[in-house]
Symmetry: none
Subunit: 216 residues, 4 copies
DNA sequence: AATGAATGAGGCTTCATTCAT
DNA sequence: CATGAATGAAGCCTCATTCAT
């Protein structure tokens, strides 16, 4: 990854340019897909945003599908990395879960366009062929969910979570988080970030909407 | 709403046939859109499922967009009606909210294909032109959300809900419900209905994932 | 094939039209491919010649390749049929060979455009993927050549042909015939049919360019 | 024709390099065109085979068409030269014809890839614009055929050939030769050279497939 | 001269929509 | 009303050619 120190400079002028262009295309694609959705976004839209000709896109990505896939992969890598760190930073399961919650919100604010895209395309589409590349993104998300479920299970054993089936916890967690993000990405598009609200959402996840029942 | 008793009898042979055909087309459209998504579903797919010719579709619906819209409108009407009844059946805000939760689950199990469709197309797409017909479905959903928010606000005043901002309550509620439904519609497609699980989800909404803090 | 006498008339209006249109497209394709070659002929050229829109071609043929293939198949069927009859009409191997020679010339004059096409595309291209459909046309031609070779072998045994290896006879025969046809199809495009010349060509095949060596 | 001895020495280092590169490109083009055919061969294919960049091809050849043309010209020069020598080496018309036959076979075995190309592209394509450069290759081949025809005419006058119209002799000769070569270039691609077979083919040209008729 | 990234016209194909029967 | 063949605009992709380095 960062191992070409000496020679990289000789090969680099071109290579760096190339990498930058590739990134510009991915960014343009992110914007276009996010705005129009995968189907409606035209390769020419993307090319124009990236300020390249259509043909140039095809020097970097074999097809529209492939471009989409690489975009997802790139983002997934970033998120997996940051989430991994966040998870490690938490000691107890609850801490881990909490870190996941807020890190995903951080990620949302850093990659808003991409989350719009995810919301549009991911929700029920994880099993769509388009999203199933070699390293299957759906599977990646599934794996992440499994991991998350493990924390819930651990948390239950350790008495941090109530004794509800872990996959219900998971569903509630994901639901609250994803819906909150979807709302911010669409309906309240221009609302600024509001830490208090975020805290409230997590609080709702942990303690619910109602007052605690008497005995317990 | 329901019946035009007097006039229907004179024209009815024809009218009833026509209405039946129209319904068959809507059903076919529901199935096709749900399976392929809006963009990928072809008018011919729909025609075939409905056992009509393509041209015939156009006698009933001006365009693919319009067909989609009318499908959504039809379903929205059904849901609005049943939800209205459920709401009326509840006395307190909490009861209303609870009824909404379970009635929407009932609706999911009665209109699975349609919910798949909603999950695919709705989440972030409510503002998409396609969905914005004359009577704006997005607006309808918004109106429903406003109403729901009112119940939360009332519930807060009446001490049934904790004193969290109503729109956070709303977001948590919608998130948990929608995500649960999305999961059932996609990942666990063949799982049978599980009332205990549904109850658990609602319980998570009301009392959260963690044990109640001591003092409160 | 010819079994739908009674009912065919009711279904036919459309079906016959359809068959006619299909044939018009095949004819247009024959002309276009023959004039420009497969690669350079555009689907739009074909559509224009057939006086249809491009899209209409695709109701009948799945792709340009497929259209080409069906064209070849259609012609191959015609030729196989007529050649079969010609072969049967000959008693001795020599007669069969002679009949093949002249029937192929008949076929040339009846399907000039197609022969131009064959000359362009067939010569060395029989093994090209494009030409290899389900019923492999290259294989069909090969099979025909095998059959022809059998007649040469039989003719050798029966003393009608000189004792040269049959595949050399075959090569000479095909060479003379195909080259003659190629010439007529291209260089002397407007020359009228000349039976004397045809006879001379066959005579050259049978007795060669030089006078017979003395003793033999 | 052959050498610019004086001037070549001053510029030669560069010039020789340049000439060598040009030749490498022509060879690469020969290979690519021969394998894929003119249309399907990409300039990049050629560049890669030649181990140059695409742009460099354009320093030597103005266009793909031009490159093709120059390739043909180069080969045509070689062949014309060798055929000229072969012709001169023959005393009588028959000897000349015989020499042409075998020299063209020699040329085939020395330039197999090119003959594959010829077979693919030449047969009926001599009148194609692509092949019609300034010095019109079709015309060159025509001129050669005219010359060949002259030998046949002379041979007829001198009693070496039977009294058939010279252009029929020509057609038979070319047909046998070209078809034999096409066969070797495609179907029996890996067959080794077989002098006996070659002799048999020429023998078939001269004395035909059948036994001589009694009286003559 | 050499490079190879960038260009963009042009081809194939799809599919919503129309219309003659 | 029903039909389904026909239409043609629009999208994806390829590749000959150019040009800044």
């Amino acid at each position: 990854m960062s191992s070409d120190t000496s020679k990289s400079k000789s090969l680099s002028r071109r290579e760096r340019e190339s990498a930058r262009h590739r990134q510009e295309m991915l960014d343009a694609a992110e914007a276009a897909f996010s705005e129009y959705g995968f189907e409606k976004a035209r390769m020419e839209d993307i090319a124009q945003r990236a300020e390249f000709a259509v043909g140039t896109l095809y020097r970097f990505f074999a097809s529209k599908d492939q471009l989409y896939l690489e975009l997802l992969r790139e983002k997934a890598d970033i998120m997996e990395k940051r989430l991994g760190e966040a998870i490690n930073a938490g000691k107890t399961p609850l801490e881990k879960v909490r870190n996941i919650f807020f890190t995903r919100l951080d990620l949302f604010w850093d990659h808003k366009a991409f989350f719009r895209l995810m919301v549009q395309e991911t929700e029920g589409s994880l099993h769509k062929p388009r999203l199933c590349g070699d390293e299957n993104l759906a599977a990646r998300y599934q794996r992440f969910l499994e991991q998350l479920k493990d924390y819930f299970e651990a948390g239950i054993r350790e008495g941090e979570f109530r004794d509800v089936s872990a996959h219900c916890l998971l569903a509630a967690f994901e639901g609250i988080l994803r819906n909150y993000v979807a709302r911010l990405g669409y309906l309240d598009q221009d609302a600024p970030r509001d830490p208090a609200e975020e805290e409230a959402m997590f609080e709702l996840f942990s303690h619910g909407a109602c007052f605690a029942p008497k005995s317990q």
